[in-house]
């Protein structure tokens, strides 16, 4: 049996979608100069909110919408604390993750061991049966295609539109942006909400499609990998896509190796996505010029307009 085939690449795309969604949302947040370390918390709240909505209504579409709402709702706490109460972003982000993990297992108490309604594939079976191209290009559900479209939309918006310019200006120098008359706090607030919604959809994709069921702490570090991905991507949307598919590939590959009982300890395979993330982070950050040039200058700094 081959190690790499069309099915593996198809799995890879599915496995990367949650972290891709979370990463692209966080990328926008960081571009606006805010470091939200609560991605893991927003993802898991999105996962349970989407799961509950999907199970109760039977509609996967509504599940994803509620996933976005759940993630965004949690991010409101972060936005209010960091933007209006001027709290430390690192500490607030950590608190958000801890709170998200707690509140999600509270919400999901009676939802363990249930299978959600199946999210339909977008294309008809005949197209999915085409060798190679079928499973890779046509074998997914709508969310996968939307996630790629979202990357394109974010890349375009940030690079080519006035809105993108404003977001970047706020992230590079909030004082200058403020002096120009832009509402720094309002813009950042909306970016944080966008990031929360993206992370929520990513979480819902985990609980509705990838696993699909609900278990406590099921994101298992996906949010942190998404955060690492933003650094890996040097804050460039298309590179985030590349990075996400790379990580997804490792996750898919290690699962396949486990299934084939290759003579590598299971623990090492389990840890491989995290280890690879660390190695990639080291490689990226050791390149002094690149990492420093692209990071938003005001990232993580508290903005307080004195006048």
């Amino acid at each position: 049996m081959n190690i790499i085939d069309a099915a593996l690449i198809a799995t890879l795309i599915g496995a990367s979608t949650p972290i891709l969604l979370a990463a692209i949302g966080e990328l926008v947040v960081e571009k606006s100069g805010v470091l939200n370390l609560g991605v893991e918390g927003m993802m898991i709240v999105g996962a349970i909110a989407g799961f509950i909505a999907c199970v109760t209504t039977g509609s996967p579409a509504l599940g994803f919408v509620m996933g976005a709402v759940g993630g965004a709702a949690l991010s409101v706490i972060f936005a209010v604390l960091t933007q209006y109460f001027l709290s430390n972003q690192v500490a607030t982000g950590l608190a958000l993750t801890l709170f998200g993990l707690g509140i999600s297992s509270l919400m999901g108490e009676s939802y363990t061991g249930i299978n959600p309604p199946i999210t339909p594939k977008l294309f008809p079976e005949a197209m999915r049966d085409i060798p190679w191209a079928g499973p890779i290009l046509f074998g997914h559900d709508l969310v996968v295609y939307l996630s790629v479209a979202l990357v394109a939309a974010v890349a375009y918006t940030l690079a080519r539109t006035r809105l993108g310019l404003i977001i970047r200006a706020v992230g590079e120098s909030h004082d200058a942006a403020h002096a120009l008359g832009y509402k720094v706090v309002r813009i950042r607030f909306l970016c944080i909400l966008f990031g929360g919604a993206c992370a929520g959809v990513g979480g819902a994709y985990l609980s509705l499609v990838r696993v699909p069921s609900w278990t406590e702490g099921m994101t298992a570090g996906a949010g942190w990998i998404a955060l690492a991905l933003v650094v890996f991507a040097s804050w460039k949307p298309w590179r985030a896509l590349l990075g996400a598919y790379l990580f997804g590939g490792i996750a898919a590959l290690q699962l396949r190796l486990q299934a084939q009982e290759v003579a590598v300890p299971v623990a090492l395979l389990d840890a491989s996505p995290y280890l690879v993330t660390i190695i990639v982070l080291v490689i990226i950050s050791s390149d002094r010029g690149r990492a420093a040039l692209n990071a938003p200058a005001a990232l993580g700094k508290v903005f307080h307009a004195s006048s």
Binding site: L37, I77, L81, F85, L86, S87, N88, V90, A91, T92, L94, A95, L96, L98, F99, G100, L101, G102, I103, S104, S105, L106, E109, E216, A220, G221, W224, I225, L227, A228, V231, P265, V266, A267, L268, D270, A271, Y274, L275, T277, I278, L281, V282, S285, S286, R288, A291, H304, S306
Partner: protein, 391 residues
């Protein structure tokens, strides 16, 4: 309109008042959360079903029910563990058992947090410390020599220290973000723990069940209660020593001064001759070693053995403890006791009110939110907006 005005110096009163107010607000919000969890009330729903009460009565009837329910939850969590006639004596002992590791880890973390070095992977260092310490003890099994436990303590501290050196060295050598690396290493440590419990540390006489030999029930490797009924074991003693040592270091020692200076003015610290790399190594190393110690004391005492899930998230809760204690040793001591109270009370509420275990985690997160919000008043003053004369 209200306006924020930066204080020339942080307010002392708010520095102490904010954590207390945060606890009070968390009790109110938490009570509300627990009350909402019990909705809709079964008794009222049955009455409504039977047509005994109208819709309005059904809705408003919930208000007293919710107040009672919330108050009961708060009393169960904060009061009963200390003062309940029947459970009190046992639960008071549990308080120190849980506060010990929290304080020990939080003291280490607070040094780094003060200097802007974010080790948030204490959970991983805790696990690796426990594995190394337990591994040392089990290597000499079935010897009951009194030298084994001291050796385990050293091995535990070294294990946690080594695990924390990975993010530290990567930060110094490659400027890699220590937040992400230390956190990702928690998941790697969990994989190693699974491997240890099912593989290299598995009890050969365990009939195939995962988990190591029981350390707590074997003389030589055990970490017993020092004074019966109080819950004080070596880890609690170590935590108290850490509090005192941290206090002395921060107030009377050059290293403590450098830590504080780097946190408040990194540039000034550089001119003063503080080597930022050495500071990273020292802060990460101390927090790692203390977390490793906490893990070793836990696995040889209260937990008893290496099992797949012997760790219960002390490494993460300690982050809340460090902030709630204002990164100050005495504050951390008090915050650790308070957080231990929520653990003990949470378990009590779980059995007596069938409150889910995870509710306590959400409750602890909420506490940190309120604290972070109230911190605003430590650094800023709220002023009504003056009408300014049009220029």
């Amino acid at each position: 309109m209200l306006r924020l005005e930066k204080r020339p110096a942080p307010s002392q009163a708010w520095g102490i008042g904010a954590p207390i107010l945060a606890v009070v607000l968390t009790m109110i919000a938490g009570g509300l959360m627990f009350a909402i969890l019990s909705l809709p009330d079964a008794g009222l729903a049955a009455a409504r079903e039977a047509g005994e009460i109208g819709f309005g009565e059904y809705v408003f009837g919930h208000i007293p029910v919710m107040i009672a329910r919330g108050a009961e939850a708060i009393r169960t969590i904060f009061w009963d563990p200390l003062f309940h006639e029947r459970f009190g004596p046992f639960l008071r002992g549990q308080l120190l058992v849980k506060a010990g590791p929290l304080i020990l880890i939080a003291i280490g973390l607070s040094l780094g947090f003060r200097a802007g070095i974010w080790n948030i992977g204490a959970e991983g260092q805790y696990i690796i410390g426990a594995i190394c310490g337990a591994g040392f003890g089990l290597a000499f099994y079935p010897s009951e020599s009194i030298l084994i436990f001291p050796g385990m303590i050293v091995a535990g501290a070294i294990g946690g220290w080594l695990w924390s050196m990975i993010p530290a060295i990567l930060k110094i050598g490659f400027r890699t973000n220590e937040i992400l690396v230390s956190l990702l290493l928690v998941y790697v440590a969990e994989s190693i723990l699974a491997l240890a419990a099912t593989g290299f540390l598995k009890n050969p006489e365990g009939r195939g069940f995962p988990g190591s030999r029981n350390l707590a029930r074997h003389p030589g490797t055990d970490n017993p209660e020092l004074i019966a009924g109080t819950g004080i074991h070596m880890g609690v003693v170590a935590a108290l020593i850490a509090v005192i040592a941290a206090y002395v270091v921060l107030n009377r020692h050059m290293f403590g001064y450098q830590v504080k200076l780097t946190g408040q003015a990194p540039r000034a610290a550089r001119f003063h001759g503080v080597d930022p790399n050495k500071l990273v190594i020292a802060c990460m190393g101390i927090s790692g070693a203390l977390a490793g110690l906490a893990g070793l004391f836990e696995v040889s005492g209260p937990a008893g053995q290496i099992s797949i899930d012997f760790n219960v998230g002390y490494g993460f809760t300690a982050i809340i403890v460090a902030f709630l204690g204002r990164l100050h040793p005495v504050g951390i001591l008090l915050a650790g006791l308070l957080m231990a109270l929520t653990y003990v009370g949470g378990e009590l509420a779980q059995t007596r009110m069938s409150l889910p275990a995870s509710a306590i985690q959400a409750f602890q997160g909420m506490l940190l939110f309120f604290l972070l919000a109230l911190d605003l008043f430590t650094n800023y003053r709220i002023r009504g907006r003056r009408r300014e004369v049009a220029a």
